[in-house]
């Protein structure tokens, strides 16, 4: 199956390894992965700031670049939610949602969602045991999974991986405080929320946190770094690649 | 209120909605029954309803005693005696009231009239006794009223509230309560638990302004 890879700007810049792991995993699962090079951003930041017009322009641009009938797969829950839910709403005030945009929204999936719902694969059909990956992890359900109706589902998916213990964090339903510009504009509140997540993480004693959203990742990582807590954050794709022994061709540090 | 002021008020709302005076409304059709409880499927329906009611009423902190019709007065009197209650107020009821009063007299429990002043009620009446007009199984509620038979205050002011409930009056859900205009008293109250608050640091306290104890006597018939 041929799929188009959508790597949101934050992942491209801040979490290239997670993005790469997403591609590797998809290839391992038998997908032919194409990266449309013209892609930039889905318009989420503009939409959330109330700049609908700019957001619409970006969505249209994206719809053009991702034209076709392939699935569009992204490692990021929030960008998937932006495309599948809000992109269409953005045109709601106009009489018609452009067909391209409708098609874009219909075809976009977050990685775990794609694996489970479209490839129809259960975890034990992908991996037999954690292998070289951590066998105990904590899970950060990103808020945008709510909008994909995946808030519980993705956690359950991970919990059914053979040999993997998934620690649920205290107050897991509480946002980690990222929220784009919110994190800077409301630094004190956002920081306090990040601290709640990190304290719960520390309490859980898990050496690795799985998180499928680059925004949340840089937020939690930033707070962990400030408080000096050594927990590694991985994208689910990275965990799978480790478990399966899939390597990117070249090893390098950040 | 003058008609014109009222029209101006309503016209403003109509303008906001883009509607005109007297414009009709298509009634909304939705599946209200979605909120009904799922009763255990098999067995006697009445029995199931009663079991559900007892279960839910207890879950919200009301006590339930079950007895045959003939023993209601006795069970009520026993409860009062055990709780060391010496004076009560009873709402009118064509059937049970007389029996109750007799039983109270036997047990030397004083029965106050229905027209006592509030300060006398505060000081002297330890328990209000009312007959439930209905009860709701799905929420564990009993219905009390303010009417020509029942003072609003009887079930509110005394620290104990004793409710007599015929099991035939239990309905499955709120949706089954009769609310036709002729049935609707000036005040209908669903009681779902003793008076309570958690305002101070979330600590649960019962018996704030209303009764801290609600005792239901459920009888067949």
């Amino acid at each position: 199956m041929r799929i188009l890879l959508f790597i949101p700007c934050l992942a491209d810049q801040f979490a290239p390894k997670a993005a790469e792991a997403t591609a590797l995993l998809l290839e391992h699962l038998g997908c032919e992965v194409i990266f449309p090079e013209g892609q930039t951003c889905c318009g989420q930041a503009h939409r959330n700031s109330g700049d609908e017009e700019a957001a619409r322009a970006m969505v249209l641009r994206m719809a053009r670049i991702f034209e076709g009938d392939e699935w569009i797969v992204t490692p990021s829950g929030s960008c998937a939610a932006m495309i599948t839910r809000h992109a269409v709403e953005l045109f709601g005030s106009e009489s018609v949602v452009p067909a391209q945009v409708q098609s874009l929204a219909r075809r976009t999936r977050e990685l775990v969602q794609f694996i489970e719902e479209e490839l129809g694969l259960a975890p034990d059909e992908i991996v037999g045991d954690p292998g070289n990956a951590a066998s105990v992890v904590a899970w950060h359900p990103s808020c945008h999974l709510r909008e994909l109706n995946r808030f519980d589902a993705s956690g359950r998916f991970l919990e059914s991986i053979p040999g993997l213990e998934v620690k649920r964090l205290r107050q897991e339903e509480q946002c980690c405080g990222f929220g784009g510009t919110f994190a800077s504009k409301f630094g004190a509140i956002s920081g306090a929320l990040a601290e709640d997540r990190c304290a719960a993480l520390e309490e859980s004693d898990a050496p690795v946190l799985l998180c499928n959203d680059t925004g949340c990742t840089i937020n939690i990582e930033g707070r962990l770094s400030r408080r000096g807590t050594p927990v590694e954050i991985q994208h689910v794709a990275e965990w799978f690649c480790q478990a399966l022994g899939l390597q990117s061709r070249e090893q390098d540090t950040r | 209120m003058k008609g014109t002021a009222r029209n101006i008020f309503l016209d403003r709302i109509r303008a906001a909605l883009g509607r005109s005076p007297g414009q009709s409304v298509e009634p909304l059709v939705v599946d209200h029954d979605m909120v009904r409880p799922s009763l255990p499927g098999s067995g006697d329906e009445r029995e199931n309803l009663r079991a559900l009611f007892v279960d839910r009423a207890r879950a919200v902190g009301m006590d339930v005693l079950i007895c045959p019709r003939a023993e209601v007065a006795k069970v009520a009197a026993n409860f009062l005696t055990e709780a060391a209650i010496t004076s009560v107020q009873i709402s009118s009821d064509p059937i049970i009231e007389q029996e109750l009063v007799e039983k109270m007299n036997e047990s030397s429990i004083r029965v106050a009239g229905e027209d006592v002043e509030l300060d006398v009620m505060y000081q002297e009446i330890e328990c209000g006794i009312t007959m439930a007009k209905a009860a709701v199984a799905s929420t564990g509620s009993v219905v009390v009223t303010g009417s020509d038979q029942e003072s609003r205050l009887t079930s509110l002011v005394p620290p104990n509230h004793l409710v007599l409930l015929a099991d035939s009056r239990i309905v499955e859900d709120l949706l089954d309560l009769s609310t036709s205009p002729e049935d609707l008293p000036s005040c209908m109250t669903l009681v779902t638990g003793p008076s309570k608050t958690a305002d101070i640091e979330g600590v649960l306290i019962t018996g704030v302004h209303g009764p801290g104890r609600v005792q239901i006597v459920l009888f067949h018939g």
């Binding site: 491209d12 800077s184 409301f186 | 979330g202």
Partner: protein, 490 residues
Amino acid sequence: MKDPATPPTSVDGEPILFPRGVHDIRPRAQQFLEDESLQSAVREATTLKDQARRDVLKEAFGDDVDQIRSIAGEIKRHTIDHLDHYIETWIERAEAAGTRVHLASDHQEANRIVVEIAREKNAKLCVKSKSMVTEETHLLPQLEAAGVETVETDLGEFIIQIDDDAPSHIVMPMIHKDRKSVARAFVRELGAEYTEEPEQLTRIAREHLREKYRRADLGISGGNFLVAESGSLVLCTNEGNGRFCTSAPPTHIAVVGIEKLVPAFKDLWFLLHLLARSATGQPLTCYTQVLTGPRRPDDLDGPEEMHVVLVDAGRTRILADPQFRESLGCIRCGACLNACPVYRKATGHAYGSVYSGPIGAVITPLLQGLDRNPTLPEASSLCGACYEACPVNIDLPRMLVALRRKTRKRRGTTGERMALWGMRMAFSSDRYYRIAATIHRYLLRCFSGGSDRLRSAPGPLSGWTRDRDLILPASRSFRKRWRDRGGAVR
């Protein structure tokens, strides 16, 4: 007790509710964040109620919860969309049952109507149960000025009144106060003996208020619902004070927002199945009163007169804007406050409104003016917890974004505008994007002095680095790696 005409003030010296001028939620929030006991009290209470809500809804309705929430939303939306019709029907039936109906276009008119009735009845003492609208209209000082002593009777509201404070949660008004402050207020204002025992404190309040009920010649309440088909007023309470206020005094006045209507009893029952479960985790509040007119000729007791004041006060303005209309469907359960991460940290008084949390962030600007509350719609990470919690399925995040659009049009800061414009340019082609990313990475590297993280960032990013580091972009982006590795592109 202080002079009721001067409202209680907050940490910034402004009135807790509805500060003068332009209100910024942040300075208050920052101070409240440092108050550890406040933080832990609010965290405990909100997470507990949030969990209780989930649990009991699941227990009662299993997997149907979301469908039930959406039906509830449809019921409220339908009512609001035809509000004129349902209000008209309600008025007709309510008057037929003997209720006197008054219509108030704004706060002043609402207060004037109440004060006039009080005067006419020669009222001296008024017992009042909880009503959000009267907080909105500042009714109490008006009544006091007219010589009517007015006592809040809900335990929390009573404590708040005597301690010269303001409610900070729709359902748990004194979530921000601890037992010590109650104890002190009771010693000071009631001459009680010092005790911190909630049980004792409650008893002291009860004795004090019983005396008030006995003497009161006026009872004021709010209303949770108005049932159009019967002209009834529905009150949901737990303590019993609402029942006292509507039963003991000879006159009862209910002050109610026009959005409280529901078409028929079946709709009422449907919504009641959700209200208390969402608010406190109870199946129903302890007392659900359906009041249909004053006492009837043969009734043993009850008020001789029942008045209902329907208050507009900005609601038709909200009605007129289809983007925000659904916010009027709110049944004030407080679930969105409990679920909201920002409410949990900022806490209620930071919002400067009787309506705090996500619903407050939406309707306060709509009722009071966005110009006076420009930061409220920004105070959200758009995490969606409120939407998921709302029993009537109100899409609060969508409305927060819509309000942001309004603010941006009117007064977005130049810095923010430039940033958005810059991003828009950068995202308009992949070439620009790559160039912008390189510059961005370079600049951040300069600031960090070569480290892979920034501990203190300049300008607008300083908020980010207040409590956390900024991890810098990787040296090679994904697209570069993909190219280098020879991945398929198009």
